[in-house]
């Protein structure tokens, strides 16, 4: 599970993240909404250990990220806004590389099934990623996340640029992962998608987590209204 305690990040005078307290339990999907610069990506980067918090702590599975960055990375998977891969390697080779880095050794068939599960057509598996579209790369990113069997999944606007069908398939996969006990933190601009897939939704503004709503208790329209009022 993911936990932030008084997580703070300042850049000089600027406060990017202000005393964030957040716990995402196993099997839970948490969506973060907010304008650009509200602190969503900073939160994710703190969990990833890419940036050192100025105060408080982020922990995964009760292991502090700042102190044991390499240890925590074993438990998490990450899908960035645009998944970039090695253009000279095929889809399957990229997947093999990253899952091997994570300590798994899968056979070709298994790797292929991960890609299929992520929605990548079979013909593309052995093509070089250099010729992939953004959506196809995104799917490889999803496959990498699935293959890692992570306890925590961090997503930074994963559906931006995906067509509605692919977006929908992606939501399916997220639900499935959550059912298997993964804690998911997803930063997004897509209010509709957030409402549909998340258990809880947080709205951020200027580094503060302003409100947290149970997704079941709000309609998409109400959420949009709330969002517009908040930001």
């Amino acid at each position: 599970m993911l936990q932030a305690k008084n997580l703070t990040k300042t850049y000089g005078e600027q406060t990017a993240l202000n005393s964030l307290n957040l716990t995402i339990n196993e099997g839970e999907i948490f969506a973060l909404l907010g304008q650009n610069g509200a602190g969503k990506t900073t939160t994710i980067n703190c969990f990833l250990g890419f940036i050192q918090p100025s105060g408080g702590s982020a922990s995964i599975n009760d292991v502090s990220v700042a102190e044991n960055a390499l240890e925590t990375k074993k438990y998490l998977a990450y899908i960035p806004e645009t998944v970039m891969l090695y253009p000279n390697l095929t889809g399957i080779e990229n997947l093999e590389f990253f899952s091997s880095l994570a300590g798994f050794s899968y056979g070709k068939d298994e790797l292929s099934s991960f890609l299929s599960k992520a929605g990548l057509q079979n013909t593309a598996h052995n093509q070089r990623v250099g010729g992939y579209s953004k959506g196809m790369r995104q799917k490889v990113g999803i496959a990498i996340a699935i293959a890692k069997k992570a306890k925590a999944l961090l997503l930074d606007e994963p559906t931006s640029g995906l067509d509605p069908k692919a977006s929908n398939e992606f939501s399916e996969i997220l639900r499935e992962l959550a059912q298997n006990g993964t804690a998911v933190l997803m930063a997004t601009h897509d209010i509709f998608r957030a409402k549909e897939v998340a258990n809880r939704i947080g709205i951020m503004k200027e580094g503060n987590l302003v409100s947290v709503i149970d997704a079941k208790e709000i309609s998409a329209n109400e959420l949009e209204k709330l969002y517009l009022q908040t930001v």
């Binding site: 990833l48 250990g49 890419f50 960055a69 390499l70 240890e71 990375k73 074993k74 998490l76 998977a77 990450y78 960035p80 645009t82 998944v83 970039m84 891969l85 090695y86 253009p87 000279n88 390697l89 080779e93 590389f97 990253f98 091997s100 880095l101 994570a102 300590g103 070089r128 990113g141 990498i144 961090l154």
Partner: protein
């Protein structure tokens, strides 16, 4: 360990499929092969010349031998005995031609005054000397660092710009681990190719394998490690690929071109060699003096006395072959008077060379070139070693003929076989190489120290 294997594997796949790498490695192998061919053909040509002179020497000696009769005077034979004194290319010279194209590598020596025989030059095309040799040392020192730079300028920045870095780092591996594994891979790859080329050269040039090979490879390995260290420093500045490419090439220019030329400029002005006017004038003037006093009986007598005082065994008996003995005595003093002038210029140059070697620590390229030249025995120092050998051999010839002439002996057929013959002796590799390697190691340590410190 598993990560190392994994990254190596995928780096290799990525590289092999990259167009830049395919072009770079093709070019590298091409210039490497050409350099081996070029160095071999240049040195083979020098060997062929030496062989030709050897044959000429044998022919001349054979015809001289046929002229020996019962009352042949030793000076008659001595005057016509030309011996080849050679500085044949070492096995490794084909890989690092060094200064061999600038200095003469053979002399035809008689027992006469050495001073008038030693100042030969080898004719050469100056434009070719100016541009220098395309030998394997050039490829290793100039081109390989460029190859390393082409492979490493985007070591991490490429991942960052390509967007893969974040995905990579979301895995249990740190950036510095990735950096070290990647540069180790590049070092191994470049060294592997260099090793291949060197081994190929050893086979093609028929080089006898001894510890020179180990020294050569050690110098290469350290030189590449130096460049990998530079890559580490630039990489740890964490700037974009363009910046890295430019800084790396800038460093290449400073290390490979600017610093050596500045050292040379300094040496040329601090230890300027005058135009040897005094030497050329003295060589002519002193010789003129000998002839001017040729008819002065008193002077002749005194010169003979002086020689006898110097070497009791060359006591002149004026009744027999007196003119020749006088000239031989004069030759000895002639060489003696000129020796300090020769020594003066030799010392200036050797001093310059040793200061240059010390200043070489400022540029790994200069150091490595000096190590290669020392190993291949194609450096300036070795040329002076050759001149010393020529002097030693000349002294041997002189003793042989002077003894016979001053003892009024006739020259027998049996004596003919006793005429000293020059045999080239290879000088063992000395601690100059050790010093060079140590200095190179030092610069590797400094560069890596800076690189690792900057990591923080």
């Amino acid at each position: 360990m598993k990560n190392i294997r994994l990254l190596f594997k995928y780096e290799a796949i990525s590289l092999v499929r990259s167009r830049l790498f395919q072009v770079a490695i093709g070019l590298l192998l091409l210039v490497g092969l050409y350099a081996i061919y070029y160095g071999k053909s240049e040195m083979d040509q020098q060997r062929a010349v030496l062989k030709e002179i050897r044959a000429d020497e044998a022919k001349k000696m054979e015809s001289l031998r046929s002229k020996i009769s019962t009352d042949t005077l030793p000076n008659v034979i001595g005057n016509r005995t030309f011996r080849l004194v050679e500085n044949p290319p070492s096995d490794w010279a084909s890989l690092s031609i060094g200064q061999r194209d600038i200095f003469p590598y053979q002399l035809y020596v008689r027992y006469y005054t050495l001073s008038r025989q030693i100042m030969t030059t080898e004719i050469a095309n100056p434009e070719k000397l100016l541009t220098g040799n395309f030998d394997l040392a050039f490829v290793l020192i100039y081109i390989f660092p460029l190859f390393i730079i082409a492979l490493s300028y985007n070591l991490i920045s490429g991942e960052r710009e390509g967007g893969t870095l974040s995905l990579l780092l979301s895995n249990p591996i740190s950036e510095s681990q990735i950096t070290y594994i990647k540069i180790a891979f590049r070092w191994l790859l470049s060294f592997g190719i260099a090793l291949f080329l060197v081994v190929l050269a050893v086979i093609i040039c028929g080089i006898k394998i001894d510890n020179t090979l180990l020294w050569w490879l050690l110098a290469t390995a350290l030189y590449f490690a130096f460049w990998i260290g530079i890559v580490l420093i630039i990489n740890n500045l964490k700037r974009n690929s363009s910046f890295n490419a430019f800084s790396l090439l800038g460093t290449w220019i400073v290390i490979v071109i600017v610093v050596p030329t500045l050292i040379n400029l300094y040496l040329a002005s601090a230890y300027a060699a005058p135009p040897r006017n005094d030497l050329t004038q003295a060589i002519r003037h002193e010789f003129e003096e000998i002839w001017a006093k040729y008819d002065d009986k008193n002077h002749r007598y005194q010169t003979a006395q002086k020689l006898a005082a110097k070497y009791p065994e060359y006591k002149s008996d004026t009744s027999y072959n007196w003119e020749d003995k006088y000239m031989l005595a004069e030759y000895d003093f002639y060489d003696e008077r000129l020796a300090p002038l020769f020594a003066k210029y030799q010392n200036i140059n050797l001093q310059k060379e040793s200061v240059g070697q010390k200043l070489g620590v400022l540029s790994a390229a200069a150091l490595t070139q000096q190590i290669f030249n020392t190993l291949a025995q194609t450096d300036t120092r070795y040329h002076y070693h050759f001149l010393e050998e020529a002097g030693r051999f000349h002294a041997e010839m002189k003793v042989f003929f002077y003894t016979k002439i001053f003892q009024n002996k006739t020259f027998k057929l049996a004596d003919f076989e006793q005429i000293p013959k020059y045999e080239f002796k290879k000088k063992p590799i000395n601690n100059e190489t050790n010093n060079g390697i140590l200095m190179l190691l030092l610069s590797v340590i400094v560069v890596w120290g800076i690189g690792i410190m900057m990591k923080k």
